[in-house]
């Protein structure tokens, strides 16, 4: 069945993008505060605090331990020594604190837009991997959903280019707002980053990013082409070709996805590393991707456009949402427990920063991504109720946005985080772009891949 994007949806997407662009521009323009402005702002804040003034001062001093290793890489290793010279400590502390707050304010719009861009890109990439799995496994239940997945993966290329673009721009014009290893001054004073400079180099970073994206895009391009050619074919040649390239893509994807997650996320904390980080990001990616497949499928079905999709398909998608949520938790916990247990200073700072400054988002995210799906999606009858799946999906998506937020923010804005205009307008901007591109792509081909060799099995799919 042919789909035509409704004017209301297109208008919504455009409005979201316009509001987003306005908000993002506003937050970039207002973030460029000078030292004096920040100083007066902080002074006003502590006066307002009144009796809390003393307490607040204490917090700031205490926080410095974490920042020394976490946030202000800019102040680097020499900083610890400077601190121990007690003589001009009073003045230094003040300047350092104001500087710290000022840097965080400069970085915030960069970090906010990066988190949102990555979140929406990750949905499309997760769906692309899930799509390849359907072909590689020759799945019989899913062919009716393949066109929905193809629509979502249309966002992969623009989304990935935007993420890479922001990452590189932050190094070139953004005063190293995201990746401190892009700053030659920082590297000059940092032995650990020097040791990694063979990998963490801005040119090589860009080149490998483009190689990853090119590989993913080639798969997306050819699988889509064969999928459409299969509609009017009289044999299964196109399907077999997709089967082969899907298997090859999955191998390429698992390597490049891991490297992408080190590059684009883990390297914001260049001292820290986790060997299962690629898996962890992959798990979040898959949950979000499958959740969005379920949501768009339910939306299109409610318009009567996917008449052959039955509640067993929804049930299976919800099972995947449930399963990958548990998988995500398993990896989250594995990463956390090993670092917590071994208690090695350079590893454990990562979680100390999150427990000290990000307690609510950090623990709230575990509740939203684990406890909530576990309890809500456990019952098999609930997995077949469309509005129930949508509600659970919204919570899962918000939870995984917060997950990405927790990955990027502590290393960039540190304890100066908030959810305000920069964050929300970035989400609106990319949500609008995502809706616009995905639903435009859905109009380009019939929603039912009618000559897929497994389409009969999918139509009769019954759990």
């Amino acid at each position: 069945m042919e789909y035509k994007i409704s004017n209301r949806l297109r208008l919504t997407a455009i409005v979201l993008m316009i509001v987003g662009v306005l908000g993002v521009s506003y937050s970039f323009v207002t973030s460029g505060k000078t030292f004096e402005q920040v100083e007066t702002m902080l002074a006003n804040e502590s006066h307002h605090g009144g009796g809390h003034g003393e307490e607040a001062g204490h917090d700031k001093v205490a926080d410095h331990d974490t920042h020394a290793s976490e946030e202000s890489h800019a102040e680097t290793a020499g900083h610890d020594n400077a601190e121990s010279h007690g003589a001009h400590a009073e003045v230094d502390e003040h300047t350092k604190h104001v500087n710290h707050v000022m840097h965080a304010m400069h970085k915030r719009p960069w970090a906010a837009i990066y988190v949102a861009a990555f979140f929406f890109f990750m949905i499309a990439l997760g769906v692309l991997a899930f799509y390849a799995v359907q072909y590689a496994a020759q799945a019989g239940w899913s062919p009716l959903l393949l066109r929905v997945m193809e629509g979502i993966t249309a966002y992969m290329l623009p989304g990935a280019l935007i993420v890479l673009g922001i990452a590189i721009a932050s190094g070139l014009i953004g005063h190293y707002g995201l990746f401190v290893w892009m700053d030659p001054d920082v590297v000059a004073h940092d032995k650990l980053i020097q040791g990694k400079s063979g990998w963490l180099d801005i040119t090589w970073f860009g080149v490998r990013g483009l190689i990853f994206i090119a590989g993913w895009w080639l798969y997306r391009h050819f699988s889509r082409k064969f999928s459409i050619a299969q509609d009017n074919a009289d044999d299964n040649k196109n399907f077999k070709k997709t089967f082969r390239i899907s298997a090859a893509f999955l191998v390429f994807f698992l390597y490049t996805e891991s490297m992408m997650s080190w590059d684009w996320i883990m390297s914001v904390d260049p001292h820290w590393f986790s060997t299962l980080f690629g898996w962890y990001v992959l798990a979040g990616m898959m949950v979000c991707g499958i959740t969005v497949i379920a949501m768009i499928t339910i939306y299109l079905k409610s318009k009567g456009l996917l008449p052959k999709v039955n509640d067993s398909h929804i049930h299976d998608l919800a099972k995947f949402m449930f399963g990958f949520s548990i998988f995500w938790t398993y990896l989250w916990f594995s990463q956390f427990m090993l670092i917590w247990y071994s208690n090695i200073p350079e590893e454990v700072t990562y979680f100390i920063a999150r427990f000290n400054d990000y307690q609510l988002p950090f623990l709230g995210m575990v509740a939203m991504n684990f406890v909530f799906p576990l309890l809500v999606l456990m019952n098999s009858d609930y997995k077949r109720i469309p509005w129930f799946v949508i509600m659970a999906g919204i919570v899962i998506l918000v939870g995984h946005y917060v997950d990405i937020f927790n990955m990027i923010m502590p290393a960039t804005v540190g304890d100066q985080w908030a959810i305000g205009i920069p964050e929300i307008s970035s989400i609106l901007l990319f949500a609008g772009l995502f809706i616009f591109i995905v639903f435009t792509a859905l109009t380009k081909a019939p929603l039912e891949p009618k000559r897929n060799p497994f389409i009969k099995e999918s139509e009769h799919f019954h759990y």
Binding site: F336, M337, W340, Y341, N343, S380, H462, Y463
Partner: protein
């Protein structure tokens, strides 16, 4: 009251069996039991059986397992012989909880799985050394057997069953 006479209708295909079950049910005959060599999807619904309650039992067993794990680890590692866990000698269960999560998870799964299997066996009246109940050994290989109670309607029933594709129809006297 159980009928003393039953008909055993034998099928050789699960799809034919499913169609037959629907037909027999729509003719308002009571199917006592069906023996199959493997689980047939949707058969319970077609027969009109009540949904299983094993999921509820499983949830309860899981909660018991979780509780056992917490109480046990608290006694062993905190109270009886306090341990310095991961270089953090806080001797508090909640602060050392990450170290106990794997055990909490394992015992939840262990209790849920084992007790659920045992419950299933007992509820199905299966225990060690019990004689097999299935009336025809071919149902363990490639045949499906439907057992229907007869209430002086033998002829009508066997005609109906023949129509549904049964390969064999036997009248069995189940006199005790």
């Amino acid at each position: 009251m159980e009928a003393s006479k039953v008909i055993h209708a034998i099928y050789t295909d699960d799809d034919v069996l499913m169609a037959a079950v629907k037909k027999v049910k729509s003719a308002h005959h009571h199917i006592e039991e069906i023996y199959t060599p493997f689980p047939v999807h949707g058969l319970d619904k077609a027969m009109g059986l009540e949904p299983t309650r094993i999921a509820i039992a499983s949830f309860i067993y899981g909660c018991i397992g979780l509780t056992v794990a917490i109480v046990m680890m608290n006694f062993i590692m905190i109270e009886d012989w306090p341990q310095n866990i991961g270089g953090k000698p806080s001797f508090s269960y909640i602060e050392n909880m990450p170290a106990f999560v794997p055990i909490m998870f394992e015992l939840t799964v262990f209790f849920a799985a084992h007790l659920m299997v045992i419950t299933f066996y007992l509820r199905s009246r299966m225990w060690p050394f019990k004689n097999a109940e299935n009336p025809d050994p071919r149902t363990t290989d490639d045949h499906f057997l439907m057992e229907i109670a007869v209430h002086d309607n033998e002829q009508e029933l066997s005609n109906l069953l023949k129509e549904t594709g049964a390969v064999e129809i036997n009248l069995i006297d189940k006199a005790h």
